[in-house]
């Protein structure tokens, strides 16, 4: 075995520990400036990583054109930076965090294999019960399984009992039979036009049908089927075995190209499984995937195994008339018996046209003569049977069933944010079960952009417009539901628009039911904004007083793109709301989304939580966050709690304002002795003085009272309790390293981080200021007003400004001493000031207002 670095690192650590124990050699032998240089390096890396993640996330918003090369480059750069960051924290901490490498290498290799196109985000399990399937697992279970399981679990609709056979099972089956390369070879011949698609299809199907299912897989499938069928003791368990291929459900025109095997007895499931898998290579499917730009590793079939429902009647519901969507109707076709001949158009069906708008009045009821129906044959198989004479002219659906179906349709459409094509069955107890639901592609021309729909304001009363920030763009229509003491969140209705004072993460609990969110206060970088984007729920935050302008129960239309809230249902917008570019059809988009799942989610949000450990890091963002926390902690521990360094002194700033700031002086930054803390007048660091002057400028620190969010927000920046009462492991400390001419500040404000690094002397060439303000949580898709305001002010005062997502970076060099101090005073003002901006920037006008306010202060100070 090759000796591994890790071991030698461990030994080194042990040796230095022993040395310290026996010889009393302390870390102070390393000069502080070296440790501080490492600390600054870690901050620089941290910033670069967050900027890259924010930029990459921005690309998913749909505004950008990017290619695979961009994804490759970004991922490689991130991997490089995160690795450097781990090296740096280990230098800083005497190799305390070498176990970070374990998860880093795991994430790195997952990213590499995603990039190389070998794999997707798959689970290892071969079968998954519907109870553990969610949309996150789409790459493992296919769209059909993911959708139906989600409908059952989250929308409380009846679905068939069943389970998914995953794409991992598919690959295992292929590899056990050595089929992957053979299939690929045939496919390549067809792609190069050496053989026709029919021939290729037949050859591949034959390979699959002749192969053996490995025993391990077969046993897992059978035992899961047995478990599911135990729920129904009184019937002979028979299953529908259906395709759930990757990409299948994203567009309904692709439906029907794969096989469904019906009424399959338990022991015949494996054979049916093979037949369904073989249909992955039907000629139509092969052609379709070529058009969709599917890569070889995306061609995979998961399978759905569902208990058969002995349907009395079945049918299909379209939530829009796909040919004439502007008519605002829904269409239901149904007949007696099982649904297959209805879907394939083999039997005449009753045709119902209902209004989309409640109470879903019927526009057309066309009852046909139904002589035949498809029924289940006792144990296994299906048969076409004659319908009893008296039922032939009877409607296959009753009035209340039509009503129920219409409601289900609208609910599914609201949830999936697309028109739906829904298959359903009605059982002998007249209960409706949803068999599947997928996107319905409308044939009409795309609707105009919402903002182009001029004149809507004249037609519909506007409750308010021009207020707030769009956290997720889109149209939401439904009854307003105002969260208050009288209204418990648990009672929030399906399809409602939640109106609340604060955009707190707790609201995400009702995301599955919400048609929109409106809040008085909140930022686009919070957790709720992230979740709203994931589920495409339109969200308008920071309206200031939306809760006062909207009435509880009032029907409203929310248009976040135009920052407008209408009273009533704006039909023109409703139609627009479900038309959108199908980004999922782009391979690059799918790839970037998969990559970001490994990079961007932040699981380590609370430094006091149990999972705040190297082992708890599941993404690059987690690793970065963990290291940042530990870097700050290390510097403070070394210099404040333990005072290890002879060349530094440290203490807490004693100030009129409740700012929990620890100062570390590396030379000439503090005058005189301090016992309980450092008084502002003792600070002799000139950059620090200027910043504190700005922060304590009258009115900057205590402006008007703020809401609950704000006080929570304040407490993470500033703490009123004495620092000694909090342990070194405590969170959220603000750190500043100073000398006579130098200041480096790290402020943490909840999720927000501010960094100032400044050197001010009489030599213009040495002077610099670096300022960085970041949202910390980087899921933002657009620049907020706060970001724009900061950029405007900073640019006005000669800073070079860059904006990445919600991050502002400003730099200034080559300015004389007084000019530098003047700008540091400005930064002090801004630090005091920006804490309030999330709450206050309710409209575009506020940018100008605040900009002028700051300008006035600066002019007054400079005696203009």
């Amino acid at each position: 075995m090759v000796p591994i670095n890790f071991n030698s690192e461990k030994k080194m650590r042990l040796r230095s520990k022993l040395k310290r124990m026996f010889f009393g050699v302390k870390k102070e032998t390393i000069p502080f400036r070296i440790i501080f240089a490492e600390f600054k390096k870690s901050l620089e890396l941290n910033n670069q990583i967050l900027d890259l993640i924010a930029d990459a996330n921005d690309k998913l918003s749909g505004d950008y054109i990017f290619d695979e090369q961009y994804i490759q480059k970004t991922c490689h750069r991130l991997t490089e930076l995160v690795q450097q960051l781990i090296v740096t924290i280990n230098h800083l901490t005497d190799q305390k965090y070498t176990d970070l490498y374990t998860n880093f290498h795991r994430i790195e290799s997952e990213i590499d294999s995603l990039l190389s196109g070998r794999t997707l985000n798959q689970v290892k399990d071969f079968v998954l019960p519907y109870s553990s399937v969610s949309r996150d697992l789409t790459d493992s279970v296919g769209g059909k399984n993911a959708h139906i399981a989600e409908i059952g679990a989250l929308l409380d609709l009846k679905i068939p009992s069943g389970f998914a056979i995953t794409t991992s099972a598919y690959l295992y089956f292929l590899d056990d039979n050595n089929l992957r390369n053979r299939i690929f070879g045939i496919r390549e011949k067809w792609r190069h036009k050496e053989i026709a698609v029919d021939e290729a299809s037949q050859k591949i199907s034959r390979l699959i049908l002749d192969a053996e299912i490995p025993d391990v897989l077969k046993n897992e499938i059978l035992s899961e089927a047995e478990r599911v069928s135990k729920e129904y003791e009184d019937v002979t368990p028979c299953f529908a075995v259906r395709s759930s291929a990757l990409g299948e459900d994203e567009i309904s025109s692709f439906a029907g190209q794969y096989l469904s095997c019906l009424n399959i007895p338990l022991n015949e499931i494996p054979q049916a499984y093979k037949e369904v898998i073989a249909s992955l290579f039907s000629p139509e499917a092969m052609e379709y995937r070529l058009q969709m730009d599917f890569r070889p590793h995306e061609i995979m079939m998961a399978v759905a195994c569902q208990m058969m429902i002995p349907a009395k009647a079945s049918g299909v519901l379209y939530t829009y008339n796909p040919v004439r969507p502007k008519e605002e109707t829904m269409i239901i076709n149904s007949a007696w018996g099982l649904g297959e001949p209805i879907v394939s158009g083999e039997v005449p069906t009753d045709h119902f046209v209902l209004e989309r708008r409640p109470p879903h009045q019927a526009r057309e009821l066309n009852i046909v003569r139904k002589d035949q129906s498809m029924i289940l044959k006792g144990c296994g198989g299906i048969a076409i049977d004659g319908v009893q004479e008296e039922q032939r002219m009877e409607p296959s659906l009753k009035k209340d069933q039509l009503q129920e179906l219409a409601r289900i349709g609208i609910r599914l459409e609201q949830y999936f944010k697309r028109p739906q094509d829904i298959e359903f069955a009605v059982d002998s107890q007249n209960k409706v079960t949803v068999l599947q639901s997928r996107q319905l592609r409308l044939q009409d021309e795309r609707a105009p952009r919402a903002c182009d729909l001029t004149g809507l304001g004249g037609k519909y009363p506007i409750l308010f417009r021009g207020k707030g920030i769009a956290a997720m763009e889109g149209i939401g229509i439904g009854p307003a539901w105002i969260l208050s003491e009288e209204h418990d969140l648990n009672e929030f209705p399906m399809g409602g628009i939640l109106v609340a004072r604060h955009a707190t993460p707790q609201l995400a609990r009702v995301i599955h039911r919400a048609a929109g969110f409106i809040t008085d206060i909140g930022s686009t970088t919070g957790h709720l904004a992230t979740v709203a984007r994931e589920f495409r729920v339109p969200a308008l935050f920071n309206t200031g007083n939306g809760t006062e302008l909207i009435e509880h129960g009032q029907e409203i239309t929310l248009d976040t793109e135009c920052l407008t809230i209408y009273e009533g249902v704006v039909q023109e917008l409703q139609y627009y709301s479900i038309q959108e570019d199908p980004l999922e059809e782009m391979y690059e988009y799918r790839l970037l989304r998969r990559m970001l799942k490994k990079i961007e989610p932040l699981n380590l949000t609370d430094p006091t939580a149990e999972n705040f450990t190297p082992a708890g890091c599941r993404t690059y963002h987690d690793l970065t966050r963990f290291i940042h926390e530990k870097a700050v902690e290390t510097i403070i521990d070394l210099n404040f709690y333990h005072a290890h360094h002879r060349d530094t002194q440290a203490g807490q700033l004693l100030w009129d304002y409740p700012l929990d700031l620890i100062l570390i002086d590396v030379g000439g930054g503090i005058e005189g002795k301090h016992e309980k803390g450092i008084r502002p007048e003792q600070i002799s660091s000139i950059p620090m003085q200027a910043i504190l002057d700005g922060m304590s400028y009258p009115g900057m620190w205590d402006m008007s009272p703020a809401g609950v969010d704000f006080s929570g927000f304040m407490s993470s920046l500033t703490r009123t309790s004495p620092i000694r009462s909090t342990s070194p492991e405590d969170v959220g400390r603000n750190l500043s390293v100073i000398s006579a001419e130098y200041t480096n500040i790290n402020f943490r404000l909840g999720y927000h981080f501010t960094v100032i690094d400044a050197f001010v002397s009489d030599n213009i060439l040495d002077n610099h200021i670096y300022f960085r303000f970041s949202g910390g949580v980087t899921e933002t898709t657009r620049r907020t007003r706060r970001t724009r305001l900061l950029a405007k002010i900073l640019s006005h005062y000669d800073f070079l400004c860059e904006v990445h997502g919600d991050i502002v970076v400003a730099r200034l060099k080559r300015t004389d001493r007084d000019g530098m101090l003047n700008r540091l005073f400005l930064l002090g003002l801004l630090v005091g000031f920006t804490r309030q901006l999330d709450v206050k920037m309710v409209s575009e006008d506020t940018i100008i207002t605040f900009f002028n306010e700051i300008k006035n202060i600066m002019e007054k100070k400079n005696g203009k």
Partner: protein, 127 residues
Amino acid sequence: MENNQTSILILDDEPIVSKRLRPSLEKKGYKVEAFTTSKEALERIEEHEFDIVVTDLKMEGVDGMQFLTLVKEKYPDTEVIVITGFATMATAKESFTKGVFDFLAKPFKLGEIAEVIARAEAKRKRN
């Protein structure tokens, strides 16, 4: 046929570029043709003059620089917009000396390219 419709040719070997760009420009009323190989694009250029050409710089076969040189030789009035992932000042400058209208580094926003195209269109209409 609307004769005053501005015609645009897009050439990029990454299919996603035309796939995204084309519908977005068509929605704005442009007449768009898209190609992923310079060979096909050249054939098309032989038979038809476009108002605006949008091309990548780095591609297999005839590269973007050669392509735009040929376009400008044949149709000096056609405005060429360069898009590329290998954005360096050197290549950008070189393309400007060939009479390129503007230069965009990938990734770019749909709004950014729409703005450049609108400027190129305005310039053509002025001339």
